[in-house]
């Protein structure tokens, strides 16, 4: 139920002990570790399966998600309508399939934006320090004091409604977490010997940052990305539930739940399936994130 970007407490501390060598063998070892991780694999499979469904949705949906079958409103799940119909007689299963595209697109795009912005700010703040560091980190701390949903609501009030502004709002809410994570990692790496050496050789700041520090930050970033996409999906659903997300008749899972809530006595399935879909997707991403975190944890790796 968390709509905030969050990580386990020791993720940051683990990354600080990461041995810094070539990316190659680390990736291969990490992948192998992931493949062996039971829950991580489940997460990966579930996420990929849902992604596949999302991509193929227009082709495999049995009905047009917008098509109203007037005489068939509030039909319980049956052979004809796998998950029943809604108040307009639209097939809920088809709507859920198409709705997955909304969840994925908002989740992935918003976190992509948040990652780019957050990492850039975090790299600058961590490496250069000074007033930029203080000001931005204080600002982010203040932002993090508010519940994510409240922040998102205010941002949407300023930017106005619409599908793209939702993506922006979710992105902005997630920037502080990425910035702080990156900054913490940069601060640790900055003091390492190899960085000192590179600096002594006369490499420019950007070269140091992008060619040396960033790759060593990437594994924790990957974990954070997965977890953040999960919470972005949740936040989008929550905003849609409140009526602030992608507008109808787009079959956003959150808005379907919001409407379904008003018809629970008539159509209980309407309140069950969209929530199930959200849970499944978020669970898959969460388990994947868990698996990635454990796989990339140097303590678990048999490395010299």
């Amino acid at each position: 139920m968390s709509t905030e970007p969050s990580t386990e407490p020791s993720a940051e501390s683990r990354s600080l002990h990461q041995p810094s060598h070539e990316g190659e063998s680390l990736t291969r070892l990490a992948l192998q570790a992931l493949l062996r991780h039971r829950s991580g694999m489940i997460g990966l499979i579930v996420t990929l399966a849902l992604l596949l469904l999302a991509i193929l949705a227009p082709a495999i949906a049995p009905y047009d998600p917008l098509e109203m079958h007037a005489p068939d409103r509030f039909q319980p799940p049956s052979r004809t309508y796998l998950m029943g119909t809604d108040e307009f007689g639209r097939d809920i299963f088809s709507r859920i399939l198409i709705g997955s595209r909304i969840s994925f697109s908002v989740g992935l795009v918003s976190i992509a934006i948040a990652t780019i912005l957050g990492v850039l700010v975090g790299l600058a703040a961590g490496y250069f320090g000074g007033w930029f560091d203080t000001v931005t980190m204080r600002f982010f701390d203040a932002l993090l004091a508010f519940p994510a949903i409240l922040l998102a609501i205010v941002i949407l009030a300023i930017l106005g409604p619409g599908s793209f502004t939702v993506i922006l709002a979710v992105a902005i809410v997630n920037v502080p977490a990425f910035a702080r994570l990156t900054r913490a990692n940069v601060l640790a790496e900055k003091e390492r010997e190899y960085i000192e050496a590179t600096r002594a050789v006369g490499a420019s700041a950007s070269r140091i940052i992008f060619r040396h520090i960033l790759p060593n930050v990437s594994s924790t970033l990957l974990v954070q990305i997965t977890v953040s996409v999960a919470s972005a999906v949740l936040l989008e659903a929550a905003l849609s539930f409140l009526g602030l997300g992608t507008p109808p008749p787009a079959p956003s899972w959150g808005s379907m739940l919001s409407v379904g809530r008003g018809y629970l006595p008539l159509a209980p399935w309407y309140g069950i399936y969209p929530g199930l879909a959200i849970t499944l997707l978020v669970m898959g991403l969460y388990l994947l994130g868990d698996g990635l975190r454990d796989a990339l944890d140097p303590r678990r790796q048999k490395l010299v």
Binding site: M1, I153, G160, A237, G260, V282
Partner: protein, 314 residues
């Protein structure tokens, strides 16, 4: 310790002042003219002008802020644009509902999380540990509003035990009031429980590895004493941090839960104020949220002192 607390309280004042300025500016960033909104579609230009004057919106921004600040320092936080009622009373009316929900949810969370987290840490890899992991994963993935809907489906519609929404007056109907509190508190509490259990487990695992635990055991202390006096005490610190953060969240109003259960708390008030561009209400509301956070922060810091004798405040 008292002096430390006083010092912290004194530091809150300038912080609040800065926040009030920032919030004031941000609120006015939100597009939409409150006067137009409240005047409605049939308002003539004169009516609109009258409202604008009444809200003080025709004066420059800095002057509006200074007026607000002057009033605020005497305890007058202004009147809501929508119904002209004193803002601090509007918020004060909602605070008990939010507070009650926060406390109930925290209580539920603690009684679920503590046994679960402690046992999971003491028996890693066991069934309990697996359950706690599953519980954590599920509670992260299940959206609060869906859990709320499922609870309503089951306890209100199917079993007819609990009311689906609303908050009856405690003085009038105490039993109904408590019944109405259960589902919203459960919704929030279960989510919080899973998080707390995870943190507690992690923190305990961390501590269990430490030297002084080994020492305590070597000294021949009974296992239970070791756990309670050494492990738990130290593990509680990060847990209290998290609890503090979450409580702050709860105090600012669990917006979704209040929405689904029509629970008249501060969260819903905030959303309404944003929607109606009720600047006066919103300003006071955000300040309340920030103040609540600061107080919780302070309480959390003070509580550390109980658990870690190394932390001392002059």
């Amino acid at each position: 310790m008292g002096k430390y607390a006083l010092r912290r309280l004194a530091q809150m004042a300038p912080a609040l002042f800065l926040v009030s300025v920032a919030v004031f500016m941000i609120i006015h960033l939100i597009p939409g003219d409150p006067a137009k909104i409240i005047a409605g579609p049939n308002a003539t230009d004169e009516q609109l002008a009258a409202l604008t004057r009444q809200f003080g919106l025709d004066r420059p921004l800095w002057e509006q802020y200074v007026t607000w600040l002057g009033n605020a320092l005497t305890g007058n936080l202004g009147h809501s644009f929508i119904n002209n009622y004193p803002v601090n009373q509007m918020i004060a009316l909602r605070v008990p509902a939010t507070l009650e929900l926060a406390l109930a949810a925290t209580f539920i969370a603690v009684i679920i999380a503590f046994p679960l987290g402690i046992l999971a840490a003491l028996r890693p890899g066991s069934l309990v540990d697996l359950l706690s992991t599953l519980f954590a994963a599920l509670s992260f993935a299940v959206p609060g509003f869906w859990l709320a809907i499922l609870l309503i489906l089951f306890f209100s519609l199917r079993l007819q035990w609990l009311p689906p929404s609303g908050r009856p007056d405690f003085a009038d109907q105490p039993v109904e009031h408590v019944k109405a509190l259960i589902m919203p508190a459960l919704t929030l509490g279960i989510a919080l429980a899973a998080k707390l259990a995870r943190y507690l487990r992690s923190a305990m695992l961390d501590v269990l590895d430490r030297d002084y635990v080994r020492t305590a055991r070597a000294k021949g202390l009974q296992e239970r004493a070791v756990i309670v006096r050494h492990v738990l005490r130290n593990a509680l610190i990060p847990v209290i941090t998290v609890l503090g953060l979450q409580t702050g969240d709860l105090l600012s109003g669990a917006i979704i839960v209040e929405s689904v259960f029509a629970w008249p708390g501060v969260g819903r008030l905030t959303v309404q104020a944003i929607g109606w561009r009720d600047y006066a209400l919103l300003q006071a509301d955000v300040l309340y949220i920030v103040l609540a956070f600061m107080v919780i922060n302070l309480l959390t810091d003070l509580t550390y002192g109980f658990f870690d004798p190394r932390i001392r405040y002059q």
